[in-house]
């Protein structure tokens, strides 16, 4: 029972950063801007949360600070791509580099460390080895409560709000939107900033979970989130479902890493435990490739996406 609780809490804490990053990705890609900058948003959010938590000791302030820093980075990305019309892929590479290097510079300047922040004053991590403790820890995380809320709000907003309607129009046919007096630049900028803030909240979850910031701690979650966006067909619901699936795979992988006896006996006949874990890790990328190859039903991106 305790083992199951631990596993579930691992699934949730692995899924949350990816789910939030994917949700942010849905907003910006639905507005018609390709967003490989998710990785940078997650990392910036993780750092912003660490700084705020160290300064105030509050997880909620940390979450807000993460979103603010993400929004700032998103605004920079939007200025480059929407206002100055820089290529979104190149600008995304730059934002990722900026986040990776910028957080390291700030680590050095603020905490005189090249690799990690001091431990956050939020109580020691239990290591999530005891079921109830793991759950209690999770419950203290703002991201846990905000993620479903943001997911639901995004779903409703994209489907029913005036803003959501305009974002969709800008992502599908910007010249039609423009011909009706919609400011495509403004709508896209708003969507990108919003998306970046949500993705950065995913980064806050990483920091709050690990109780410290570690350089490069986003660890490719932004790209996994992009996979979830595509697999989820650019909808909040789909992206979150796939992010949870990816989180489950990742938790499975972690569990297997700790205990090879959990690898299914049937798989062991063919693969070593390490190979099986690699296979599990590779699944999100492989599935996404299949999806965009048209082998998993029709995955149609927003028409204005480059």
């Amino acid at each position: 029972m305790s083992g199951l609780l631990v596993f579930l809490s691992q699934v949730v804490s692995a899924a949350l950063p990816v789910a939030l990053a994917a949700l942010g990705g849905v907003w910006s890609e639905r507005a018609g801007v390709a967003t490989i900058a998710l990785e940078g948003y997650v990392l910036a959010g993780a750092f912003g949360a660490a700084v705020a938590a160290l300064a105030t000791g509050s997880a909620w302030v940390a979450a807000m600070a993460a979103m603010a820093l993400g929004a700032l980075l998103g605004w920079l990305f939007a200025t480059a791509t929407v206002r100055l019309r820089a290529n979104a892929i190149v600008a995304g590479v730059a934002v990722n580099l900026l986040a990776a290097a910028g957080t390291r510079v700030a680590l050095k300047v603020l905490y005189d460390s090249a690799s990690n922040s001091p431990p956050l004053p939020l109580g020691a991590s239990s290591g999530a080895s005891v079921g109830i403790a793991a759950l209690r820890e999770l419950a203290a995380s703002p991201a846990l409560w905000m993620a479903p809320l943001l997911g639901l709000a995004s779903h409703v907003a994209l489907a029913r709000s005036v803003f959501g309607l305009r974002v969709t129009a800008c992502g599908e046919n910007p010249s039609a939107a423009r011909s009706l007096g919609v400011s495509v630049e403004r709508v896209r900028t708003q969507a990108l900033v919003l998306g970046a803030a949500i993705a950065a909240l995913g980064g806050a979850q990483l920091t709050l979970h690990q109780r410290e910031f570690v350089a490069y701690m986003s660890g490719g979650r932004g790209f996994l989130a992009l996979a979830a966006v595509i697999l989820g067909r650019w909808t909040p619901r789909g992206a979150i479902v796939w992010a949870v699936a990816i989180g489950a795979l990742s938790a499975l992988e972690t569990t297997l890493a700790g205990d090879d006896t959990m690898v299914p006996r049937a798989a062991l006949a063919l693969l070593s435990p390490a190979a099986f874990r690699a296979l599990v890790q590779a699944l999100p990328f492989g599935l996404t490739l299949l999806a965009v190859m048209g082998r998993l039903g029709r995955a149609r991106p927003p028409a204005a996406l480059s």
Partner: protein, 341 residues
Amino acid sequence: MRAAIPTRAAVVAAAAVLLTLNVAVWASGDAPASVLMLAARGAFGSGYGLAQTLAKATPLVWTGAAVAFALRARLFNIGAEGQCLAGVLATAVVGAALPSSTPWVIAAPLCLAAAAFGGASLGGFAGWMRARLGTHEVISTLMLNGLVAVLTTWLYAGPLRVGAQVHTRPVVDGARLSHLDLAVHAFRGSALNTSLALAVIATVVAHLYLTHMRGGVAIRALGSSPRAAEALGVSTASTTVRAMTISGALAGLAGTHYVLGVKGYAEQGLGTGVGFTGVAVAMLGAGSPWAIVAAAVLFGAMAQGGLAVNARVPSDVLSVAQAAVILAVAAVRANSRQERP
């Protein structure tokens, strides 16, 4: 008029570097001018520093040339990252599998071909997906990056590991590329090796291919006006696959710098990041092989200069400046394109 764009890009790039550095250094409580001098001296001021700058530039020449090559067909090879990792893997596996007595005339070409093949297979696959299934190469190559990263991590930690080491078996001596400090005494101790010469030659050859071979002219025709190329009988599908395959091969060859030049084996983390930086190099140096080499050297110098100033300001300040360069140049390029009729 075509020359005006690189010049403008260079000016903007320089301004971005200076501005970001000044702000960042000033923010960390040091004097910008003296730190900048220190960085420049670290990157160019000594034989060792210069050699290290060039060594850091070597993989960037490969990946920069790779991304720039695909761009000529208007294809965005963001997969240089994974193609480079595949090149590292392939050349390490082949180099270690050869009998230890293999002479260099056989070993070196085989290992180079393996690196090229590793990258080319990934690039070519993405090209095929684009040509036959309409899959955008940005998405497919990003996902392939992820797959290769998982695959190599597993291989280096598991099946290819030698005993307690965390790297693969060393490649045969015949496959090793010479370090240039053998020839130039001032370079002593640096990792600079002949992979740089190969990279520069390959960049020039790739450029000549685009102008002196039918397949290359077809690539440029497709990139410039796809509809005119179609009307002339240029095959869109095979030209797309060709451009991505060659681009992938160039990115894969970056692996030779690490495996045959520096380390002698493959390990986790070798080549990480150079694919993405290659995008920046290509952006800055598009259009001319020498501009690609110059842009790679600029980024190499920033990395090396960053190490030199590390005692006073964090070396990552230089990477922040790199990001600023990329953003500034991307914006300039977008807006100079608009001016064109």
